[in-house]
Symmetry: C2
Subunit: 226 residues, 2 copies
């Protein structure tokens, strides 16, 4: 038995499992993991095709992965099992930017440039965007953002946002997401943690708000407008 | 019993389950879903806190969700269950951009503006980025990109990429990811589907390559340089 890296509470290990694609397979996999005492901190099903699926797990709490890999390989539905890097380690914390295409692009320029500077110093911050139009579509996307893995801060970039979007902003802030908006028309800026006029600056501040390499505490700036 | 929307093969339904946070809970949840014949097409564990976790499922193959919600609520570890929109419906297909901060930001401007145009016509395309430096870090991120849910096209934006990154590009292309690179030094452009000199154009073409509202077939352009 080759020695394996320890999967302590602090560092999850990644496991990619290719299986036959049918209902109940995930239940079999999680059964083996639970039986060995592994704590699944992240799991994603990647559509591999009609008959084969890939399931990616991040697991904590096991001293070694070797017995788990062996037991998984013994399941009839399992095709193969490989150890992989975790998404958390590779892609890190996420800034989510949504709204109008013109503004989202400029906020992204600021956020990407600032994330680059922090990632050079050992951080892992990624910048994810979606251009969207319409009150309902945006409100739904805001609510969904709080359910995205590793999402820490949301930037709303547009010219007019209110109504359902304002209600969604209040809800996701309760769930712990920091919300920054551009200085725009509508009721959304009144509901946000921070309002920033320049889109590049908004992107930079969003990254600073979640970077451990920055001295910038958004809670000290609440309700401030820049 | 209120009638529920049908969870056919074509349209998954989303379910947010808040549970006590401990090993084995996911196994219990998947057991109930498998027992009722539901096919889990996507699942993510959202760290809710020390003692409470939120697990988000997308499920197909059930005529209604009502019996499932009822059975899940009956589990001692379950705190509450709510029906939610699916990530696939909200955030759609993903363009992933990685490399140097200066170039990634400009590719994002092109991709976001183009995604905006397609999303206005009913598409859902999001643009996700990470600025990264170093051959190993980038090679690892390229490999991981093929394990990101809903990822369809990868844009490598930098001035020099080769070695391990080239090997990673060849591997993820085999897994079905389309790879576009800027016209740069190193061996990566030779391994990509498409090489584009202007970063805005690269972002636009990346979105066109995956938009069903665009007439642009990257397979017809393989090995072409723009």
């Amino acid at each position: 038995m080759a020695p394996e890296r320890a999967a302590s509470r602090g560092s999850a290990l990644g496991l990619l499992v290719r299986t036959e694609s049918r209902p109940g397979v995930l239940h079999q996999l999680t059964g083996v993991i639970a039986h060995l005492g592994g704590d699944i901190t992240w799991v994603v099903i990647l559509g591999g095709g009609e008959r084969v699926n890939s399931v990616f797990f991040e697991i904590r709490g096991l001293p070694t992965l070797a017995p788990l890999i062996e037991e998984l390989r013994a399941l009839p539905a399992v095709i193969d099992v490989t150890e992989e890097q975790t998404h958390r380690r590779v892609f890190g914390k996420r800034v989510i930017i949504m709204g109008g295409g013109a503004q989202v692009g400029q906020v992204a320029v600021g956020a990407v440039a600032e994330a680059d500077r922090h990632n050079l110093r050992g951080e892992r911050i990624s910048v994810d965007t979606i251009p969207l139009v319409g009150e309902s579509a945006l409100a739904e996307a805001v609510l969904s953002a709080s359910r995205l893995p590793r999402a820490r801060v949301l930037v709303l970039a547009g010219a007019l946002m209110g109504g359902e979007i304002e209600a969604a902003v209040r809800k996701v802030r309760e769930r712990g997401l920091v919300v920054i908006t551009l200085n725009m028309a509508g009721s959304v800026p009144g509901a946000a943690d921070l309002v920033v006029t320049d889109p590049i600056q908004a992107g930079v501040m969003a990254v600073m708000a979640i970077a451990e390499t920055a001295r910038f505490d958004v809670s000290k700036l609440r309700k401030r407008i820049y």
